[in-house]
């Protein structure tokens, strides 16, 4: 991390307390609205409009990475870093048609697990739950660790204090507000992130013009402008594929489908994807100013806070703190809520205690939110540096679910044994590719093998699935 914090400790404390109180108060307030049943707690009453639906997709997909790692790849890879990162928006775009089909086929469903269980049976469902839990846990831990490290770098907070604060705040308002609290705070967080990023970009490029940045890059760092940079192209391809795996399988996105009004589902994914795509390009463009000004960047992952503080002074550091705090909490709340839905609905209600009441499902979801929050704190307690490797591992797992999900939604012949084999073999070969070839190949190999197994298995032994069975949660 940087040698000295960018923000005065007093200001940092004020911002942390102020935004923590704000998020918790709003979460609790929104949580008191609605009918108070399980559908309300898990899915905000299933009637979210276009604005909130779009904003919650946007906020959930803008993680701490989008505001820190996107500038980093812009700084290190240049244009293909920015554009490649923006390709992660593909996941949202491509899920839009699937989302409206899910909404039509499964009007009463609650989770992605409901689809896999009803479409492919319990064996495939168990494999799917293992995959999505492994991914979710990795995602939660990285956000928790990221929070600790970022607050430490920005404000000099102890790593554990920052980590516990951010996870604690997100857990608290998710617990009391449920999905309604998450969606409501996501709306404000997304607008805050977008507006402040515009402010930083406009003020930054007011200090040093676009042409000056281009001139400096062309003269001193031409590789950053090279559209044929091999590493950049590889990065872009991997990012697009990984994002499809993440969005297609994870309950964060499925829960948004179930929570939104049918008339807004398709549009919200398209609009959310379009809005999100601009964020990594803008943050990457901000990072390019660091190259143009020859700013000393001891650690490339801190390029966005450093250049912002350099150009805009302490005001810039405050803006960065707010953007990153909003990004982290908006992602953590979505993960906690969606994972709690999945565990309460799939593991508790359909496996451990079948036949439990709606009120018991709601109570189970609340307990899971607290449990997951505490587990994330525990697993993030000791910072370790091998998370990068761990997450590329999960790329092999989630990419194996792309084709079973997509084919299962459109193709009645998609076979349940093939789907199970596709997930298992895709994951295994993806992990082998990760270890034997290169980590970046993991998602690609996994998706390719999974597609082959799914397609051939279903062709040789076609199933005659009746879509009406999906309506019966």
């Amino acid at each position: 991390m940087t040698d000295a914090p960018l923000l005065d400790a007093g200001i940092a404390w004020f911002l942390l307390v102020a935004f923590s109180v704000l998020w918790i108060a709003l979460g609790v307030w929104w949580g008191k609205r609605g009918k108070g049943d399980a559908d309300d707690y898990l899915l905000a009453g299933r009637n979210i409009g276009l604005a909130l639906s779009t904003a919650t997709l946007m906020a959930s997909w803008v993680t701490g990475n989008t505001t820190l790692a996107a500038p980093e790849v812009g700084y290190t890879l240049g244009l293909w870093g920015m554009l490649g990162y923006a390709l992660a928006g593909l996941g949202l775009f491509l899920f839009a048609p699937l989302a409206i089909r899910i909404k039509r086929l499964m009007p009463t469903a609650r989770t992605s697990g409901d689809f896999v269980r009803l479409r492919y049976g319990r064996v495939c469902w168990a494999v799917f739950l293992l995959i999505t839990m492994a991914y979710t846990l990795g995602f939660l831990i990285t956000q928790g660790m990221g929070a600790g490290l970022l607050l430490q770098a920005l404000s000099g907070f102890d790593y554990r204090l920052g980590m516990v604060s951010v996870i604690g705040v997100s857990t608290t308002y998710t617990l009391f507000g449920g999905m309604r609290g998450v969606v409501g705070t996501d709306f404000i967080q997304s607008l805050l992130i977008m507006a402040l990023l515009v402010l930083v970009a406009v003020l930054g490029y007011g200090r040093i013009s676009v042409d000056e940045v281009y001139g400096a890059l062309a003269a001193e760092h031409p590789s950053r402008l090279n559209m044929l940079l091999p590493a950049g192209l590889l990065f872009a391809w991997n990012t697009g594929l990984f994002s499809m795996g993440e969005v297609f399988h994870n309950n964060i996105w499925w829960s948004r489908v179930f929570a939104s009004r049918p008339s807004v589902v398709f549009r919200s994914f398209i609009l959310g994807g379009l809005a999100w795509t601009t964020v990594p390009i803008v943050t990457g463009a901000i990072a390019l100013m660091a190259l143009a000004t020859n700013l000393e960047v001891p650690q490339v992952n801190m390029v966005f806070p450093l250049i912002t503080a350099q150009l805009l002074g302490s005001g810039g550091a405050i803006v960065v703190f707010i953007i990153i705090f909003a990004s982290l909490t908006s992602t953590l709340d979505s993960l906690l809520a969606a994972s709690a839905d999945l565990i309460a609905e799939d593991v508790v209600a359909h496996w451990l205690r079948p036949g439990i009441s709606d009120a018991q499902i709601r109570q189970a979801a609340r307990l899971v939110v607290v449990g997951l929050g505490l587990l994330t704190m525990l697993l993030s307690w000791q910072y370790f540096t091998s998370m990068y490797q761990l997450l590329l591992f999960t790329g092999a797992l989630v990419a194996s679910t792309i084709w079973p999900i997509a084919m299962g939604l459109y193709w009645p012949q998609a076979n349940r044994q093939a789907a199970t084999a596709a997930m298992v073999l895709g994951s295994i070969t993806g992990l082998l590719a990760y270890g034997l070839v290169a980590p970046y190949c993991a998602a690609l190999v996994s998706a390719a093998v999974s597609a082959g197994v799914m397609g051939l298995g279903s062709h040789w032994n076609p199933e005659r699935f009746e879509w009406r069975l999906l309506a019966d949660r």
Binding site: L52, G215, M387
Partner: protein
């Protein structure tokens, strides 16, 4: 998306793509300007669109 949060955790790893490539096509200045300015305008428009939709839905009682 979570793929790259790891980048900030692996703080001291070197930049991985700055070696000189064999083939180059530098983006022209006009397209670079279009990309930077266009993305900022796109973000502004996206923000305004979400706010305007919210205002419309608020008036019609369709936010939730």
């Amino acid at each position: 998306m979570p793929l790259l949060i790891t980048a900030l955790i692996t703080a001291n790893r070197p930049a991985f793509a700055t070696t000189a490539p064999t083939t180059q096509w530098l983006l022209p200045a006009s397209l670079f300007r279009l990309l930077v300015v266009g993305s900022i305008i796109g973000l502004v428009v996206a923000t305004l669109v979400i706010v305007l939709i919210w205002l419309k839905e608020l008036r019609q009682g369709q936010v939730w």
